[in-house]
């Protein structure tokens, strides 16, 4: 057990627990808080995988902007009633998802031994390297993403506007 493996197990356990809390908490605000914890844990995984820029963006955009939007809508709608647990439905859904997880794990564990990580330079995952790739190889998807965000803004305003 190397220290990195121990860290991985601790973080992975916390991530699975907070993901389960997102799904199984009956209070919506508690679910949202658990989701913030899960997103921050995933950001820590990004940092350990030499992706500091993406990790910071994960905290800023996901745990910051998107989750504030979720909490705002939760408070706006105030869904006070806790939903009922329906045992047959819950167990059916859980069994289906466990089968899916079993299939995933079987596929991913059965493949050939994974390669060692390529020795990364100091630059790997830095904003410079990301920006260079983003503005040369991925410039068309980048422009399409900007149009997509514009459409999302206009669509959200149109959908949420009160009708007269």
């Amino acid at each position: 057990m190397t220290p990195s493996l121990i860290t991985f197990y601790a973080l992975a356990g916390l991530l699975v627990i907070s993901s389960l809390l997102v799904v199984f908490q009956r209070n919506v605000v508690h679910s949202a808080m658990a989701l913030v914890a899960a997103l921050c844990l995933i950001a820590i995984f990004f940092l350990t995988l030499h992706a500091p820029m993406v990790g910071v963006l994960q905290v800023l955009i996901y745990a910051g902007a998107i989750m504030v939007l979720f909490l705002f809508v939760i408070m706006f709608l105030n869904p006070a009633a806790l939903e009922q647990r329906r045992v047959t439905w819950w167990s059916l859904g859980t069994i289906a998802a466990l089968l899916l997880a079993g299939a995933f794990v079987a596929v991913m564990n059965g493949s050939e031994p994974t390669p060692d990580p390529i020795a990364s330079t100091e630059l790997f995952g830095s904003p410079e390297m990301l920006a260079k790739s983003l503005f040369t190889d991925f410039v068309l998807p980048f422009e399409i993403a900007s149009v997509l965000l514009l459409v999302a803004i206009v669509g959200a305003v149109v959908l949420a506007k009160r009708e007269h």
Binding site: S4, L49, L57, L100, M108, G155
Partner: protein, 100 residues
């Protein structure tokens, strides 16, 4: 160093937990949050492969996934607000106007 398989299995587990949320919950907001969880599980896979294959493309794709996820969350929440305004409910089982 942690093997690549461990990251893949972890994100498979988180993805499956998100699938559970979409299947069993009866609250539109929680279903949307479970979808965000599934997107993040896939992002973790992208970043792990980017690290182990030494390619920056995986990290760039995660950018685009984040942009699409932000757009999806905004539109989804606007639809939820508009549905709640008309039907006074967040339960997808109650929305059966188009159901045969």
């Amino acid at each position: 160093m942690v093997p690549l398989n461990y990251y893949l299995i972890l994100s498979a587990l988180v993805f499956a937990i998100g699938v559970i949320g979409v299947l069993i919950r009866r609250n539109l907001i929680v279903i949307l949050m479970s979808i965000e969880l599934m997107l993040n599980a896939v992002n973790l896979t992208f970043i792990a492969f980017s690290r182990y294959l030494g390619s920056i493309s995986g990290q760039v794709i995660v950018f685009f996934v984040m942009a699409v996820a932000a757009a999806e969350a905004v539109i989804g929440l606007a639809i939820i607000i508009s549905v709640f305004r008309h039907r006074q409910t967040l339960d997808p089982q109650e929305l059966h106007l188009l159901k045969w």
